[in-house]
C-alpha cells in the first residue's frame, strides 16, 4: 500500500540519519512527509527494528489529539517514545547523590504504577574517552526525554577532557534552562514570597569551551554570543511568560562593560519584547541584580540571561528559597528535554549517607511527567511531595530537619497511597 511504502521510506531515511556523524548538533533531519505520517513514524521510532503494522492501528485514534500538542516554544516537539501506553525515558545516574536519588524516583514511580520505563545509561566520568556520553546522547535522541543526575567534572584533567554535562547540552542543543524558584511555606528562609522563573541560555556564552594559550602564561577564553541564540532564548522566555500568565521579564546583562557581546544579547531581547506589548520588559546589570536579589527578591518575575550570569543567578535564587535540595530544573531543546536538579550538584560529600534531600529530583520527575502529558500522575506526586514538605514537615538535614532520605520517600509514598490511587505494596 502507498502509505506503507511511504512509511518504510521514512524509516529508511531515519536509519540513514541516525548512522550519520554523531557530532551533528541538529539531530535528525526533518522529513518531508505529511504530518500524520510524520507523527506515526515518530511513534514507531523505538520499533524501527521492524515491528510495524498493528501499532499504527492501535494509535490511530489518538493521533489527532497528539498532533495539536505544542510547548512553550510554540513549535511542535516530536512526541516522546511510547509503546503499549508506556513511555521510555533515558535515565543517567551520574555521580555523587545522583544514583541514590534516581533510585528513589524509580521506587516511587514503580509504587504509583506510573507508565514510564527507564532506560539506564551509565556514564563513567573517570574515563577520558567520550563513548559513554555519546551512548547517552544517542539514547536520549532515541527516547526524546531524559532524567539525569550530575556527572562529575574533574577540573584537574587536561582541557581536552570536556565537561560531560556540557557536551550533553550542546550536542542535543538544549538551549533553554528553566528553573522555577518558589518559596515553600514549610521551609524556613530569610525571604518570603519569592516566585521567580529563570530562563538561562544553555549552550553558548562563556561555556563554549574555546580556550587557547597564545603566549606562555597568557590564556584567552572566548565568550561567544550569537544573534540567533539570543533571539531564540528571548523568544522562549517571553512565550513562557505569556503561557504562565506572568507580567514582567527582566534581562540580566553586563552590557556597560561587554558592550558588543551583552549589547547584542540585550538588543535581541528588546526586539523580541516589542512583539509582546502585554508583557513589561526591563534590563538590569548583573551585579545590581545580585544585590537586589539578596535584599528584595520579591520584585522579580521572569528573568532571562546568558549562560554564566544564569549560573550565578540561579544558584543565588536556589539558595534564597532553601537550598539545592529543593529546586528542580529542566533543559529544553527543540526536540529533546532533559530534567535534573536546578543547581546541578554532585553532592559527593553526602553521597551514600541517606541524608540527601530527594525533593529536587522528585519534583524534576514531576516536570518530566508534565512534559510527557501524564498530568494526573504529575499532580498526584507533586501534591504528595509538597504535603510532606509543608504539612507533615518531614525535612532532611539540609533544611534543618532530622529525617533521612528514605523516611521522606516512604512518607511521600504513604501519602500517594492514601489518595486511593492504584499502588503496589509498600
Amino acid at each position: 500500500m502507498a502509505s506503507d511504502r511511504t512509511m518504510r521510506d521514512n524509516m529508511g531515511k531515519k536509519t540513514r540519519a541516525r548512522t550519520r556523524d554523531k557530532e551533528e548538533k541538529d539531530g535528525e533531519t526533518k522529513m518531508a512527509a505529511s504530518s500524520s505520517v510524520l507523527s506515526m513514524s515518530k511513534l514507531i521510532k523505538p520499533l524501527w527494528g521492524g515491528r510495524l503494522g498493528n501499532t499504527v492501528k492501535v494509535f490511530g485514534p489518538t493521533l489527532t489529539s497528539r498532533r495539536e500538542r505544542s510547548s512553550a516554544a510554540g513549535e511542535n516537539i516530536p512526541l516522546p517514545a511510547k509503546y503499549g501506553g508506556r513511555h521510555t525515558v533515558t535515565l543517567i545516574p551520574g555521580d555523587g547523590i545522583g544514583p541514590e536519588l534516581l533510585n528513589h524516583v524509580r521506587e516511587v514511580f514503580r509504587f504509583s504504577c506510573v507508565p514510564v520505563d527507564f532506560e539506564v545509561v551509565n556514564v563513567n566520568s573517570a574515563m577520558t574517552s567520550e563513548d559513554d556520553i555519546n551512548n547517552a546522547i544517542t539514547a536520549i535522541r532515541r527516547n526524546g526525554v531524559a532524567l539525569k543526575g550530575n556527572i562529575e567534572t574533574n577540573h584537574t584533567m587536561p582541557p581536552s577532557v570536556k565537561s560531560r554535562n556540557n557536551l550533553l547540552r550542546t550536542s542535543l542543543d538544549l538551549y533553554a534552562n528553566v528553573m522555577h524558584c518558589q518559596s515553600l511555606p514549610g521551609v524556613q528562609t530569610r525571604h518570603k514570597d519569592i516566585d521567580i522563573l529563570i530562563v538561562r541560555e544553555n549552550t553558548e556564552g562563556e561555556y563554549s569551551s574555546l580556550e587557547h594559550e597564545s603566549v606562555t602564561g597568557v590564556v584567552e577564553s572566548l565568550k561567544i554570543i550569537t544573534r540567533t541564540n539570543s533571539l531564540r532564548i528571548a523568544d522562549y522566555a517571553f512565550k513562557l511568560a505569556r503561557e504562565k500568565g506572568r507580567r514582567r521579564v527582566t534581562a540580566v546583562h553586563k552590557a556597560n562593560i561587554m558592550k558588543l557581546g551583552d549589547g547584542l544579547f540585550l538588543q535581541c531581547c528588546r526586539e523580541v519584547a516589542s512583539g509582546y506589548p502585554d508583557l513589561q520588559f526591563d534590563a538590569m546589570i548583573v551585579d545590581n541584580t545580585t544585590m537586589q536579589l539578596v535584599s528584595n527578591p520579591e520584585q522579580f518575575d521572569v528573568m532571562v540571561m546568558p549562560n554564566l550570569y544564569g549560573n550565578v543567578v540561579s544558584n543565588v535564587c536556589a539558595g534564597l528559597v532553601g537550598g539545592p535540595g529543593l529546586v528542580p530544573g529542566a533543559n529544553y531543546g527543540k526536540d529533546y528535554a532533559v530534567f535534573e536538579t536546578a543547581t546541578r550538584n554532585t553532592g559527593k560529600s553526602i553521597a551514600g549517607r541517606n541524608i540527601a534531600n530527594p525533593t529536587a529530583m522528585l519534583l524534576a520527575s514531576c516536570m518530566m511527567l508534565d512534559h510527557l502529558k501524564l498530568y494526573e500522575y504529575a499532580s498526584l506526586l507533586r501534591t504528595a511531595i509538597l504535603t510532606c514538605m509543608n504539612e507533615t514537615r518531614l525535612h532532611t538535614a539540609d533544611i534543618g530537619g532530622q529525617g533521612t532520605t528514605s523516611e521522606v520517600v516512604q512518607s511521600i509514598m504513604k501519602l500517594i497511597q492514601s489518595k486511593g490511587q492504584l499502588t503496589t505494596d509498600l
Binding site: 584567552e220 572566548l222 550569537t226 548583573v286 545580585t290 539578596v294 544558584n315 539558595g319
Partner: protein, 313 residues
C-alpha cells in the same frame, strides 16, 4: 582628629580628564604628582557623563596607577538590620584583566566574541596580595573562587597560581570552591566565608552580592591597591546628583573607606576609634540619614560621630 572627621563630609571628586600631549586621555598631572608623592588617596564617587568622549574616570585612574586589587570588606552593621547577621568576609578581586579586558570582535554579522584574558603574572600578584592581606588582618582562610570545570585553561591557570602562592603561606588555610557553590552557600550561610580571591567578573558579581548582604552600597567601603604601594580608597556608590549639596547624603561608605585607609597606613587606633563611633551612632538610631531610615541631615550625623570620637579620648 575632629578636623580629620569633619573633613570627610565635603570630599568630592572634582577631577576631570584632560587630553595630554600625544592625544592620550589622562588625569591632570598635578593630581597624578600628588598621588605619586603621598601614595594614598581617598576618592568620592566620580561621574562619567554618557557622551563624554573620554573613557570612564574610574578606568583612567585604574590604568594610571595600575590598581590591580579591589578589596571590599563586608561586615554586618549592628544598627542596620538586614536578613543576614554576622557577615564578616572580604572579597579580593583582580581588577585589571579577566572578562573586563574589553577585547571584543564581531566575527560575522550576528556573532560576537568577547575575550577573557588570564595571565600568570596578574594571577600570582592578586594571590600574593590576598594572602598578605589575610596575614596582616588576622584572617584564617583564603578561598579561591573559580569555574575551572568549564573554563579549564583560564581559571585553571588562576587556580594553579593561587595554589603555588598558598604553599608559601602555610599558616593560612587555602580552599577552592566553584562560583555556583559559593553563590549558593553565600545566601544561605555567609558566616562560613572569610577571604575570597577571584578573577574580575566573579569578583564584580560576588562583591556586590556581599555588599547587598550587609545593606547595600551606601554602607560598603572599598579599597583599590596598586603597584608601587599606591592605594586609593573609595565609596562605590553613585554620585547621586539628585541629593548633592542638600546635606542629605549618607557618608558611611566614605567614612568606612577612610577607616580602611587608616588601617592600611598603620594607624590602627585612629581607625578603630572612628569605626566604633560610626557603628555606635548607627546602632543608637537617633541621628540617621534618610537612606538608613532616619530623618537627620548629613552634618548632624557626622557631628554625632565626631562627638563620640571626642568622648572616647
Amino acid at each position: 582628629l575632629k578636623l580629620f572627621t569633619t573633613l570627610r563630609d565635603d570630599l568630592q571628586g572634582n577631577v576631570t580628564a584632560i587630553k595630554g600631549p600625544g592625544g592620550k586621555w589622562m588625569i591632570p598631572p598635578d593630581a597624578k604628582e600628588s598621588m605619586d608623592q603621598s601614595k594614598i588617596g581617598l576618592k568620592g564617587p566620580l561621574k562619567t557623563p554618557i557622551a563624554a568622549g573620554h573613557p570612564s574616570m574610574n578606568l583612567l585612574l585604574r590604568k594610571t596607577f595600575d590598581l590591580y586589587a579591589n578589596v571590599r570588606p563586608c561586615v554586618s552593621i549592628e544598627g542596620y538590620k538586614t536578613p543576614y547577621t554576622d557577615v564578616n568576609l572580604v572579597t579580593i578581586r583582580e581588577n585589571t584583566e579577566g572578562e573586563y579586558s574589553g577585547i571584543e570582535h564581531v566575527i560575522v554579522d550576528g556573532v560576537v566574541q568577547s575575550i577573557k584574558l588570564i595571565t600568570e603574572d596578574a594571577s600570582r600578584r592578586i594571590a600574593e596580595y590576598a594572602f598578605e592581606y589575610a596575614r596582616n588582618n588576622q584572617r584564617s582562610s583564603v578561598t579561591a573562587v573559580h569555574k575551572a570545570n568549564i573554563m579549564r585553561m583560564s581559571d585553571g591557570l588562576f587556580l594553579r597560581k593561587c595554589r603555588e602562592v598558598a604553599e608559601t603561606y602555610k599558616d593560612i588555610k587555602f580552599t577552592e570552591m566553584y562560583l555556583d557553590t559559593v553563590c549558593l552557600n553565600m545566601v544561605q550561610d555567609p558566616t562560613q566565608f572569610d577571604v575570597l580571591v577571584m578573577p574580575n567578573l566573579y569578583g564584580d558579581i560576588l562583591s556586590d552580592l556581599c555588599a547587598g548582604l550587609i545593606g547595600g552600597l551606601g554602607v560598603t567601603p572599598s579599597g583599590n591597591i596598586g603597584a608601587n604601594g599606591v592605594a586609593i580608597f573609595e565609596s562605590v556608590h553613585g554620585t547621586a546628583p539628585d541629593i548633592a549639596g542638600l546635606d542629605m547624603a549618607n557618608p558611611t561608605a566614605l567614612l568606612l573607606s577612610a577607616v580602611m585607609m587608616l588601617r592600611h597606613m598603620g594607624l590602627h587606633e585612629y581607625g578603630k576609634k572612628i569605626e566604633t563611633a560610626c557603628f555606635d551612632t548607627i546602632r543608637d538610631k537617633k541621628v540617621l540619614t534618610k537612606d538608613l531610615g532616619g530623618n537627620s541631615k548629613c552634618s548632624e550625623f557626622t557631628a554625632d560621630i565626631c562627638r563620640r570620637v571626642v568622648d572616647m579620648d
